[in-house]
Amino acid sequence: MPSITFIHPDGRRQEIEADDGSSVMQAAIAEGLEEILAECGGNCMCATCHVYVIEDSAGALPPPTQDEDALLDGTAAERRPNSRLSCQLPASEGLVLELPERQT
């Protein structure tokens, strides 16, 4: 059960326990985090599970695929160098992710 930390747009930090093998998006939805919409359900097709990766101490995150990279060009909140789609990120111990102001 890796624990990951979300930083809400108001600066509040929230640590959650993710199920083994789940994605960051799935963990956020399971926890009821309103800032993650995941309209396409995790198929890497909608760009509404956008997060900013603040810390990846385990270095466990795969690089974005071409599909994810193209979708990130259309995020509702500003794309930054650390922008990712959370449905593509395995939940791994110690991840710190900032949630954007908006997803649509």
């Binding site: 309209e39 359900g41 097709m45």
Partner: protein, 397 residues
């Protein structure tokens, strides 16, 4: 896990009686078991969310290239050349899908939002002036028809072929029943017009159609493939959004408490549309074909067997959803299969959401209440669920 014999059903899920009220039959199918033998069709059926999702996500086993209707392309010739996306498997599917994904990307939607929102405002203002109207032709059809054909790049003349062509496409996924036979009997002029429109010289510059043809310049598509890929937007770009918007209007009219929430907070428009897709499931069903012997929900399936997925039943499966029969615009809908799932998930889902959102947001701001002003009439199609007529009265805010 040991395998078991599947329960059998004599249900005809493509009959008019079923279309009139599918929900009790959906519940019976879900309760019968994870996989049900549909004797009438000679295929398997899955109605629970878990199995529907499993079939969608296992494309090597449950292929699309043998047709996503009851007809098996390995045994029968399809009525038109197969779609380059819907009726293909990887690796061929991947290449064509990437082109459409780019044309209909989130970034592309940003460029359309302002125009679509302005068109929605005009439409709602016009209907408020009229007060009472038929929400299917005058709104659910009129709004997408006012924005989508232009975005696709279609010439103004001959657009009366658009809706009949789409209806044939979705009727053709069903069994050889009256709906399918009548649809195919009249398809020739519609198909001829559509294929003519799909040619590069007939598509407006800057349109979706032109962008698809541009992929032939870079070698991503062959010049022969480009018009066939454009055809997918004629098949799937209009009836789907029409029935999606129709579903949302029908839901909001039936559940005034939910309309009141939307009116109080128009930012819920996108969620109200999405929940209507879950609740009504405008696309009710799709088939897959097994590419090898396999096992699903403990039931052994042979090679070359059709599996019918009941999307609408999965979207109201109590194993997955709390209060599944309630239309709740604040529901977390992520994971519903109204747009499908997996590699074939609707490539136009962002466009559908954009259309639904801007229209419901315009309503929410300008309209205090929606009233049903006459008896709704159902429209029958082998795949699509929706109404032909929905008389409504709007009360200005």
């Amino acid at each position: 896990m040991s395998t078991t014999e599947a329960p059998a059903s004599d249900l005809d899920p493509f009959s008019i009686a079923f279309f009139d009220d599918p929900f009790p039959e959906h519940a019976r199918l879900r309760e019968a078991g994870p996989v049900v033998r549909l004797r009438h069709l000679g295929c398997w059926g899955v109605a629970r969310w878990q199995e529907v999702t499993a079939v969608f996500n296992d494309w090597p086993t449950y292929v699309s290239s043998r047709g996503v209707g009851l007809q098996d392309f390995a045994r029968e010739t399809p009525w038109r050349s197969p779609s380059l996306v819907l009726e293909r498997d990887p690796p061929e599917h991947t290449r064509a899908r990437a082109v459409l994904g780019r044309v209909l990307s989130p970034a592309a939607m940003k460029g359309l939002r302002e125009d679509f929102a302005a068109a929605a405002e005009r439409k709602v203002a016009e209907l408020l002036d009229r007060g009472t109207f038929d929400a299917i032709p005058d709104l659910a059809e009129a709004f997408p028809l006012s924005v989508f054909p232009d975005a696709l790049g279609v010439r103004p003349d001959g657009r009366e072929h658009l809706l009949p062509f789409a209806a044939v496409t979705f009727n053709a996924f069903g069994p050889d029943n009256d709906l399918r036979r009548q649809a195919l009997a009249g398809v020739a002029p519609h198909l001829a017009w559509v294929m003519e429109q799909c040619r590069r010289e007939n598509l407006a510059p800057g349109s979706f159609g032109a962008a698809i043809h541009a992929a032939a310049d870079t070698g991503e598509l062959t010049p022969e493939e480009a018009p066939v890929l454009v055809r997918s937007l004629f098949s799937a770009g209009l009836d789907t959004t029409i029935n999606g918007i129709g579903a949302a209007l029908w839901c909001l009219a039936r559940f005034p408490g939910e309309y009141a929430r939307l009116h109080a907070d128009p930012s819920l428009a996108r969620a109200a549309f999405e929940e209507a897709i879950r609740f009504e499931s405008p696309v009710q069903t799709f088939f897959r074909t097994t590419s090898r012997p396999t096992e699903l929900g403990g039931v052994p399936l042979g090679e070359g067997e059709k599996v019918l997925m009941f999307l609408a039943a999965a979207n109201r499966d109590p194993r997955r959803w709390d209060r599944p029969d309630a239309y709740d615009i604040a529901r977390r809908t992520s994971g519903h299969v109204g747009f499908g799932a997996g590699i074939h998930m609707c490539v136009g889902q962002l466009l559908a959401r954009l259309e639904g959102e801007v229209l419901l947001a315009a309503l929410a701001r300008r309209v205090r209440g929606i009233e049903i002003a006459g008896t709704p009439v159902r429209r029958y199609n082998n795949t699509l669920r929706g109404l032909a007529s929905l008389p409504l009265t709007l009360h200005a805010a």
